[in-house]
């Protein structure tokens, strides 16, 4: 069994070193105390009802020893934890900056090339990465166990975090701060690529100028790129959310008992304020895409849904 996740950042091995140090110190104390406890309980167990016992009320020597030794060790542990923490809080000057926005319940990453990605963070191996983060709504927390980094995202302020990925691969990103119904579904990935691959990725397939695509095609592209396909099918099957097949023009039963006919406005509202008109039989897990999708993009999705007869 793995006690800790794999080590995939420069910080991870340092954090692990502190973790193991404390583990060893704690184990020593734990073993001593449990051993003494069990030994006394057996050695001195009551054998006859009226056994006599000595009148011992304390020992200044012992009490001094067991105050000083733990105090000393605790200060060492504090100092070690602090030294590594200082590293974790001091990003190198040449870090690559990426902006992170958390919202119920998705992650948005904006790169300084102008590219943006949803729920997938792309970074090059071996380069310090600094994430500048904010929340659009409630608290979230950016947590990548393989990197041993975590930082809350807070509305109204920027928080930051840095790491240098040391191993190409794909790593899990969790939201670690409770943020409502979709908290445990607010998952992402960090994709670490070799510097060459990363360069290619950065330059490659520049976001096509939005207007250059016909709306329905743009919608089709967004359907997978923005992750709608995780919850909505286009073939009539039910996933986490209702299928889009035959959605347009169809009557939908809402949670509050009313009925609506799906039109442009309904779709638009479902995307921007998914919880405002909840479809009957579904839980409110759909994230709001307000600020994520532009008007043109929403029109594209509407056009695409219209084609799914």
């Amino acid at each position: 069994m793995n006690w800790v996740p794999e080590v995939a950042s420069n910080l991870a091995s340092k954090v692990d070193a502190v973790l193991w140090f404390i583990t060893v110190v704690s184990l020593v104390f734990f073993i001593i105390i449990s051993f003494v406890l069990v030994y006394f309980a057996i050695r001195y167990r009551r054998r006859q009802e009226n056994e006599e016992t000595p009148y011992i009320t304390g020992s200044h020597v012992l009490e001094t020893i067991w105050t000083i030794i733990p105090s000393f060790l605790l200060i060492v542990i504090f100092a070690y934890g602090f030294v590594v923490y200082k590293d974790m809080r001091t990003p190198p000057q040449d870090s690559l900056e990426i902006t992170v926005t958390g919202k119920q319940w998705l992650w948005l990453f904006a790169y300084n090339t102008g590219k943006t990605t949803l729920n997938e963070l792309y970074v090059p191996e071996g380069r310090p990465i600094k994430l500048v983060m904010k929340s659009d709504d409630v608290l979230h927390s950016f947590y990548v166990p393989a990197f041993r980094v975590k930082q809350d995202l807070v509305g109204g302020m920027y928080t930051d975090l840095w790491f240098t990925p040391t191993k190409a691969g794909t790593y899990e990103l969790f939201c670690a701060e409770y943020c409502g119904t979709g908290h445990s579904a607010m998952l992402g990935k960090v994709i670490v690529m070799s510097p060459q691959e990363y360069e290619k990725w950065e330059k490659g397939e520049e976001e096509k100028a939005v207007s250059s695509l016909p709306p329905a095609e743009l919608g089709k592209k967004l359907y997978t790129e923005r992750g709608c396909n995780a919850c909505h099918s286009i073939d009539g099957s039910t996933l986490v959310g209702p299928t889009w097949k035959g959605l347009y023009g169809h009557d939908v039963d809402l949670q509050d008992g009313t009925k609506v006919t799906v039109n442009e406005n309904y779709i638009r509202e479902s995307i921007l304020e998914p919880q405002a008109q909840l479809v009957k039989g579904y839980t409110p897990t759909m994230p709001s895409f307000k600020g994520v999708l532009s008007d043109d993009e929403i029109s594209g999705i509407i056009a695409y849904i219209k084609t799914l007869k």
Partner: protein
Amino acid sequence: MANHTIAETISIPYLEERGLLSWLTSTDHKRISIMYLLSISTFFILAGISALLFRLELLTPGKTIVDPHTYNVLFTFHGAVMVFLFIVPGLAASFGNFLIPLMIGARDVAFPRLNLGSYYLYVIGAIIVLVSLSKPADTGWTFYTPYSIKSGTDVILLTLGIFVLGFSSILTGLNFIVTIHKLRAPGMTWHRLPLFIWASYATAILQLLATPVIGITLLLLVAERAFGIGFFDPAKGGDPVLFQHFFWFYSHPAVYIMIIPAMGVISEVIPVFARKPIFGYKAIAYSSLAIALISFLVWAHHMFVSGMSDMAATIFSFLTFLVAIPTAIKVFNWTATLYKGSIDLKSPMLYALSFIFLFTIGGLTGVFLGALAVDVHLHDTYFVVAHMHYVMIGGTVMGFLAALHFWYPKMTGKMFNEKVAKIAWAFVFIGFNVTFFPQFILGTQGMPRRYADYPPQFHSLNELSTIGSWILGIGMFVMAINLIRGLFNGEKAPQNPYNSLSLEWQVPSPPPHENFEEIPNVTDWTYGYGKKSA
């Protein structure tokens, strides 16, 4: 109490008078204690059942029995009820009420009517909390903003309920402080006091000083939800991190409100069942006070990754290590008390020894979380969940069960079946460890807490934890049945079945309404066990 005519009521056992009304109007601290005990136990069971349900949901990845929203409601209910309706009033209101006057040689607490009033406040608060269940909150017991402002559930009622409960806590603390200062029997000097009294005193100070802060914080939250005043929501110009500071300024000392009385219980049980004076009396007594005071200075160790400054994080990390020292001292002293004792492993002692063992694990894992670099990785993972339960169940609940079994003969006048009590203990002990130990590993592996669902790599440990919860549940059930049966079928309890020297054991079981026929004259401390010449 002073204006009762003693001759009339003397030597009528406090349980004698029957009828609901005689209970609900009684200002006898012992009756109030029993009412608290029954109330908090009921909530303990309710909150325990909700835990069994959400552990069942976590048995397998994906949906097992409930959807994510229901899961969130269940863990919120579990946390809020366990904390505010069971463990905070907990030992202080139940056993503290029963024991403080008896242990210090008084006939009642200083303000008996206020005491009954505190109980009614508790009941009112509890009812408000229950009413809020018509649209149960899903914010977690921590009510972090801005989610608690935006959540569509009934957060206002729940927080108002807790607000009222706070007054019950404050008034109880006040009552106990005055009682301990003013009503000690002649000769009962501070350094002769049972350590449970020292612990209750430290707890009462915390209740009195810390609770108003949570009251005000929750009112601000209500004002923000109801009237849109922007204290904590950044969308209205508020600061969400400020809420966390306020919240933990109370809730960290509250951790010690929960644990210090249990430490007091352990300090009573161990000398009796080891037949030894407590080792290092003064160190234990003053460390309770030290813990209480330092606990006001460590609140932000819950917030190292919340967005507060690195400097603040560093200072709070350092102070956190300070509070570990008096805690460690207590553990060493209890263990040393066993040396050359005559150790009787009856059920109260088994629970007390479990306390030392489990609380040590809880304390040591706290050291991991206090260390800045490690906390960044472990914060808000299952490691914290496990740590907190090792302190709260492994510590406080073990102390509670030790107290329940130890003072049961005194409170009820009956004995329970000792053999069954030991079997129940074994289930509780094993079940607890099987439930919560795997959670430490889930935490170091990186599983976040409050997850309604989890990726497949966390499956087997979650499964183990859920199975453990059933063992723990069975243990609790057997224990409860055993104690309830004792009430009806148990043998009559002698005055002092365990040969304790403490004052409460020198009066009949159950004690008479006025406790002491004559106020005793105290000439020695409570822990004079063993042969002095040896």
